[in-house]
């Protein structure tokens, strides 16, 4: 076969966003050798896009906060499908993980007495998000990157992993290629941590970059690991809608946290029209109370714009469908109105939301300090992913770990804003430590040359077809259109059945894709190799969504619009079955232990 370079590490981390970096740092701290692989340059992963902040119950702004309230908020937001052990560990450990970043150089905004400032966010009862203006993600990834490069980690930039190596049941490394030259590289490892992020590129309108093609999900699936909760895709309520080239780019929830309101074309603040029963007691009675909440009044309750993302997104879809949308098919998000409340509103908005100001000014020629934005839902986050053990983050395959967005469990049916940055810190660390322990006891083993050869042959096949095959971009484009239309925010059985037929056809087209040019930095080839992963996760999403005949969290069925208690007792699980067919199952959720049940009860 074509030659390949071999590198060996105790722990191989795939993905260098927040979770991957944190895992690599944790593994290195255990004294094992660590390799870190990323598809892009270091520090460019999607974590940089996170704007709002990292949720951690430090209680710096409101001392009524505690891990117990954070736990209860996370479970309520996830509609109780969460892996409760993960929700517990996350709430307990997030404060230490955030403070640790400060010891590594992160600079969060401060309270008047000099501690880390925390802001309000949807679904969090108290101000809980540690933040830096609206560029918290950049602050976090840069802190982890600048700390990580001094920990003896070998970074393999611009490398794509094609397949995981196995020895019996155990994962023992990975095989991929460097994007720059197109040369194959074999990574032998005692343990592998997947931290590959999300699946946003399966949809047409998304806040995700080209990288988010479900690689980790697909790698784990093909290695025999179980995926879970794949029906739960988060559509962020506020993405840009105009001009077309920026459609989908995120507009931070922080805009609403700072007092921004959603308005339809009739001038009505429609979020007051539909407040879910389980949030009624926590939601403001009127606009005045909502405003006071955003300004830190501890006696006020949150405005309905800060309800959970799934709900806000659906309300926007309803307004648009019923003819009350903005000119380009969204609704208005208005922060400029706070000039009625604050004397120096324009300067205040620029200070609190600098990236948003910049983004709209430059890309849409809109001044958000004097004009409302047009916004609409955008595919943002995958709650589902690789099924893992809550304490160790090990998947159902020995030696294979997962952390961050590509792992499932913490967020259940819907993720609260701010819980992903803390997720990747808490579980990145745990995954790195567990993987290091596993690697110490399980060294790299023999390599199955035949498997490598098959993987290399498959990867190069598009070149053999050359111009005779269809281009990868067209297939990817058609997949994105189809998933957007048929398995999007509002789902129906007949549409999803059509999606399954469509996926079968797209799979056939993907198998015949051709690539021109050579192996050096060839995006056409890269796209061709991402396609199978996108198709795998799309099928997993569709099958899971078909099976859940109810509406819950990020999953909304037009034909089953209500929540059904019968569906509250299990997680949907996807596995690769005999003969390579995708199999769906239901795994019962273990009952909450008494101490956690009590916390949920106390915080109803």
């Amino acid at each position: 076969m074509a030659g390949y370079e071999t590198v060996e590490h105790d722990v191989l981390v795939i993905g260098a966003g927040g979770a991957g970096l944190r895992a690599a740092i944790a593994a290195a701290a255990e004294g094992v050798s660590v390799g870190l692989v990323c598809k892009s340059l270091l520090g460019k992963a999607h974590t940089v896009m996170a704007e709002g902040g990292a949720a951690a119950a430090m209680g710096n702004v409101d001392d009524r906060d505690s891990w117990k309230v954070h736990f209860a908020d996370t479970m309520r937001g996830g509609q109780y499908l969460n892996n409760w052990r993960m929700a517990e560990l996350h709430a307990q450990e997030a404060p230490d993980r955030v403070r640790e970043l400060e010891a590594w150089g992160a600079l969060f905004d401060r309270t008047p007495d000099g501690r880390i400032l925390q802001r309000n966010f949807g679904g969090h009862r108290y101000p809980r998000l540690a933040h830096v203006g609206d560029r918290t993600g950049l602050e976090m990834i840069r802190t982890l990157q600048d700390h990580g490069i001094h920990q003896g980690i070998d970074v393999h930039m611009e490398v794509t992993v094609l397949t995981l190596l196995r020895d019996g049941d155990r994962v023992t490394g990975a095989f991929g290629y460097d994007r720059e030259r197109g040369r194959f590289r074999l990574f032998r490892a005692g343990a592998v941590v997947l931290a590959t992020g999300g699946i946003g590129r399966a949809y047409k309108i998304t806040s995700n970059s080209w990288e988010y093609t479900g690689d980790g999900h697909a790698l784990a699936y093909h290695a025999g690991a179980a995926l879970m909760d794949m029906e739960f895709v988060q559509f962020h309520p506020t993405g840009m809608v105009w001009p077309p080239s920026v459609r989908g780019i995120l507009v931070t929830e922080g805009v609403r946290g700072e007092g921004g309101v959603l308005i339809n074309s009739e001038g009505r603040r429609f979020m007051f029209d539909d407040i879910p029963e389980n949030y009624r007691g926590q939601t403001a009675d009127d606009a005045e109370e909502g405003w006071r909440y955003t300004q830190g009044d501890k006696d006020a309750r949150r405005p309905p714009e800060l309800l959970t993302r799934d709900h806000v997104a659906r309300c926007i879809v309803r307004e648009v469908r019923e003819g009350r949308g903005s000119p380009h098919g969204g609704v208005y998000l208005d922060i400029a109105w706070i000039a009625q409340k604050l004397p120096d509103a324009k300067a205040h908005i620029r200070k609190k939301l600098p990236s948003m100001y910049h983004q709209f000014k430059q890309l849409a020629e809109i001044d958000i300090t004097s004009e409302p934005m047009e916004v609409g839902p955008t595919t943002h986050y995958m709650m589902g992913g690789i099924r893992v053990d809550g304490d160790t983050q090990m998947s159902t395959v020995p030696g294979l770990f997962a952390a961050g967005e590509c792992a499932a469990g913490l967020h259940g049916a819907n993720r609260l804003g701010g819980n992903s940055l803390s997720d990747l810190l808490v579980f990145g660390k745990r995954a790195g430590e567990s993987a290091a322990r596993f690697a110490r006891e399980n060294r790299a083993s023999t390599v199955d040359e035949a498997a490598l050869e098959a993987a290399a042959r498959e990867a190069l096949a598009p070149f053999d077809r050359g111009t005779e095959g269809e281009g990868a971009y067209q297939v990817q484009h058609d997949l994105q259109e189809m998933m957007q239309d048929l398995v999007g925010i509002v789902r129906r059985e007949d549409e999803m059945e059509r999606a399954l037929e469509g996926l079968a056809a797209l799979n056939e087209r993907a198998a015949r894709v051709g690539v021109t040019g050579n192996r050096e930095y060839n995006p056409g080839w890269h796209t061709a190799l991402d396609l199978p992963n996108l198709l795998t996760v799309s099928e997993a999403i569709t099958r899971s969504a078909l099976d859940r005949k109810e509406s819950r969290g990020g999953h909304f069925r037009d034909d089953f619009p209500e929540k059904d208690a019968a569906f509250s007792t299990f997680n949907t699980v996807i596995r690769k079955g005999e003969g390579g067919r995708m199999e769906l199952g239901r795994e019962p959720i273990p009952p909450l232990p008494p101490h956690l049940a009590q916390i949920v009860e106390e915080n109803r």
Binding site: S40, L41, K44, A45, V48, M49, R99, E102, G105, L107, D109, R110, G114, R115, I116, V132, R135, E139, D146, H150, M157, S209, W210, W242, P243, S245, V246, I249, V261, E266, G267, R268, R269, D286, G290, W291, S326, P327, H328, Y332, D334, A336, W337, H358, Q362, L363, E365, I366, E371, P372, A472, Y473, Q474, V515, T516, G517, E520, Y521, N522, G524
Partner: protein, 287 residues
């Protein structure tokens, strides 16, 4: 927002309301004009080739003003040249991946709107020149990552509180936030003549890493001393303050005035202040 609020229903509508709708409709119309939905044709003159050499290739396509240069490159990639190499990620000016030279100016392709370019002429898009070429618009920027490692890392003072945390004033934090905004697009490195024309990569770390050094030196908690390194290993003396880096920074960081000059002053204070030299000499003799 001075227009009176008219409401269609007695629902609570603090602020916003019809005034927002009217402002929004105006903004949408304005933005429509800005993006002039009528398609037109433009030519992009894109550098194609690899380390061995290459040249400019013209691509003509239908465009609209709302598009950015990166959209045009993607369209070329999808329709005319599947293998056109380009780096990109966030497409929102936050990750700093899609750096290139557009009509000769170092810029982010994702933040350069076609509406601000003269489309009656071909738009040239070339890779950054300060770094080795890999293919098409992609250059080898790994030197920046290696050079960063040569900076002494952050070293915090002992925690201020028994629980291991620190107290910082917002004003002290604000002072370095400008430097922490850096998205590592390396456009400042690209435009710096010390690197671009004189290829002093071995002796000079460039504006990006001087910003990083300034961030560390002015960090409210940091206790490390990088002044000697700045003078010797990092070659700060090579910078002769032409401010080209500041001009191209997409984050608007005042690189020269706020980062490099204060660092130069620290170097001068320690190494070239005659009074300090004298004191050092005297103290040295005493020892």
């Amino acid at each position: 927002m001075s227009a009176p609020e008219t409401r269609t229903a007695p629902a609570p509508t603090a602020g916003g309301g019809m005034a927002a709708v009217e402002a929004g409709a105006r903004a949408a119309a304005k933005s429509d004009r800005a993006t002039s939905s009528a398609a037109k044709t433009a030519t992009f003159r894109v550098w194609r080739g690899d380390a061995a050499g290459g040249g400019l290739v013209d691509f003509t396509l239908q465009v609209s003003d709302g598009m950015v240069v990166l959209d045009a490159i993607h369209q070329i990639q999808a329709e005319q040249a599947n293998d056109l190499a380009v780096r990109w990620n966030c497409k929102a000016g936050k990750c700093g991946s899609c750096s290139a030279e557009i009509n000769g100016m170092p810029r982010l392709m994702c933040m350069t709107r076609l509406g601000e370019l003269d489309l009656s002429q071909p738009v040239t898009v070339e890779p950054m020149r300060a770094f080795p070429r890999i293919r098409d618009l992609v250059t080898d920027v790994s030197w920046n990552f290696a050079a960063k490692k040569s900076l002494k890392p952050f070293k915090p003072r002992a925690p201020d509180a028994p629980d291991g945390t620190w107290r910082m004033d917002q004003r002290d934090v604000d002072r370095v936030q400008e430097f922490r905004k850096c998205i590592e697009c390396f456009l400042c490195q690209d435009v710096c003549h010390v690197l671009r024309d004189h290829h002093k990569h071995d002796e000079f770390v460039g504006p990006r890493l001087l910003v990083q050094a300034a961030m560390l030196e002015m960090h409210p908690l940091d206790t490390e001393d990088r002044v000697d390194d700045l003078r010797r290993a990092h070659g700060i003396g090579y910078c002769n303050i032409t401010k080209c880096c500041t001009k191209v920074c997409p984050e608007g960081i005042t690189i020269t005035d706020n980062a490099i000059i204060p660092l130069k002053e620290r170097v001068v204070d320690r190494h070239f202040d005659p009074l300090a030299k004298l004191v050092q000499l005297v103290r040295g003799r005493k020892r």
